[in-house]
Assembly symmetry: C2
Homo-oligomer: 369 residues x 2
């Protein structure tokens, strides 16, 4: 620790977030602005901020809302978007990303937030936080705007791992259910398994197997399984949790984001086209702002790493002030709900059930009646 | 042939389309309305229409624009969305879908159009039209609204087959290039291979292999290979042709469609919200209509089956009049450009190049210098 501003305690137990200030496309300026915006909205949060001290203290001093609520931890190294995860795992001890995760590992902060390189962040999270017992592949879950009453669906994995077998998909379902309960307040989330329709299909044997595994677990883990769903159901209302492998999930996520952004730009063009349409856009300003808030991808910014001892929120690399603030507010919500502990407890109880049922099955098989 | 209206020849060689009038969600009414709309716009097209004669002749008689331009072929069987492709392949001879494809096989029509069951349509197309020499897996290609000057990108496969190995992906690239040349008028299309970013990734060995194969073929087949692209590039401007397997492509397609449709609905809600926003929507009507035309998925309706002896256009099952007309107009464009023959010729010449280069390689290996 090289710098510490005075701790002006607000409330009884402030939530402490560990912020990697570096590695985003817009630099630490956007991160500190996002922190400032969140700090105004949420008086009971504090920050451990990781990055080059001289630079960060200047940026933070300019923001009144951050006065007395940040502790800067000097870190000279920065993980770039081009760095290979394997390199950072071996040589990244001096980076702000490493330090941000370490603070969660050491229980100094509840959740870490980073705009940096996803691959490196996942690799560091895996080796420093370690996987929860029973989890084979951690996953990245996001919230996606949907037609459901809660306004969002959970989709996972969106890119932690390009592969997933049937057991992994079952774990994604369980982790996604836990996230939907804590992040979207759904008591009994409905889970769908992403596929290409209900026709007979060769191949993709792991999906058929996962269908059976997830269906069998639904009652015990208190969720509803709606079976296979299609790409159109990701923003739809057929289910609340969409389970898929990280390759498919990542492509679906980026296709959806790209499509939304294209439509947004075309909408702007349409309203700039003629004097009449420019007048119209003035009249519709409030409605359009409301619309933008609903579908603005920056406002649902934040992939959550699931399946680790501790919570890490990955913000978009290109996040601006609004995006960073959204990621921080998601982190706060998860910290407040005790998400990390609840997920661990749930997975442990399910693992017990699975082990129990395996035992029973074995005993049944061993004792011929 | 059970019914034939008089052939009032317009122009020298009218383009004949084979239309499966049945199997769409909105019934033959939507199909005949779409035909009528296209017939008004394109005076040199004629239709072979397959389905129950009594019903179809009533619907067609009501449309002036179709007078003398349709020949109805009675077919009593209908392929439903629930029918298994394997069942239709064995027992579907009496269906309108079967007859629609048969007319292309018999060279009575240039292109077949159907709103029916995709799996059954692909299965029938495979067994009746047969694959082009050298093609292992046919693919379904679609046009996707994009930031490119031509307004659209080609993506394939969007669901003909859930699997694709490196050789299949190479063929998709070649077929996609041919489609982009004929459908989008691009002399030297840029091809991208869909992946999840440029980070190091385990697994997905077929993508690395396909990267090499496609890159090696670029110069000979006169296209540019931009390498790996991400989901965000499907509506983007990094390339013109996006190559992927049918599982990923189908999910990307449906995610994009679902997202666009959700945004469209939210936009309507925003404009209906207050008296002021309703006034604004009136003022912006022309601009909004222009926007809708640009991003309306119905206007880019039509997946083209590539790699067969003959062209089949698959319309969305839910296509209405606008959607059916878009699919028909795409079919006409492909018929006019002689797409089917050009694609076959190009694949044949490429196959020669591949065989030649394999031979040369072998000879090089066999003659140590």
């Amino acid at each position: 620790m090289t710098s510490s501003q005075d701790h002006n305690k607000v409330g009884s137990t402030p939530i402490v977030l560990s912020i990697d200030a570096m590695g985003g496309d817009l630099g630490p300026e956007a991160v500190v602005s996002g922190m400032s915006r969140s700090a105004k909205a949420l008086p009971d949060i504090r920050f451990l901020v990781h990055g080059p001290e001289a630079k960060l203290s200047k940026l933070i001093e300019r923001k009144k809302s951050l006065a007395g609520r940040c502790e800067i931890r000097d870190a000279s190294g920065v993980v770039s978007m081009e760095d290979k995860p394997s390199h950072i795992m071996r040589h990244g001890q001096d980076t702000s990303m490493w330090a941000a995760i370490e603070a969660v590992r050491d229980k100094e902060a509840t959740v870490a937030v980073s705009c940096g390189n996803t691959g490196a962040l996942m690799a560091l999270s895996m080796i420093r936080l370690r996987k929860l017992p029973g989890v084979n592949r951690p996953a990245i879950a996001i919230l996606w705007p949907s037609r459901n009453p809660q306004g969002f669906n959970v989709m996972l994995d969106v890119g932690a791992d390009v592969r997933a077998d049937a057991q992994d998909l079952l774990q994604y379902a369980l982790m996604g259910v836990s996230y939907a309960r804590n992040g979207l307040d759904l008591e009994r989330p409905r889970v769908g398994l992403l596929n290409v329709g209900t026709e007979e299909h060769k191949g993709k044997a792991e999906l058929k197997e996962a269908h059976e595994l997830i269906g069998r677990m639904a009652d015990k883990a208190q969720f509803d399984f709606v079976g296979f769903v299609e790409g159109g159901d990701i923003p739809g209302e057929a289910c609340d949790v969409i389970v898929t492998d990280g390759f498919t999930g990542n492509i679906a996520l980026k296709t959806g984001e790209g499509t939304a952004s294209l439509i947004g730009d075309r909408l702007k063009e349409a309203f700039a086209y003629s004097p009449l349409s420019r007048l119209a856009s003035l009249l519709a300003l409030t409605s359009l702002r409301r619309l933008k808030r609903k579908i603005d991808p920056r406002r649902v910014n934040g992939g959550v790493f699931l399946g680790l001892n501790g919570t890490v929120v990955k913000s978009h690399g290109s996040a601006d002030e609004t995006g960073v603030a959204a990621a921080i507010e998601l982190a706060v919500q998860l910290a407040k709900s005790g998400f990390s502990e609840r997920l661990a407890a749930r997975l442990a109880s399910i693992t017990d059930i699975v082990t129990e049922s395996d035992k029973t099955k074995k005993e049944d098989e061993e004792s011929p009646k």
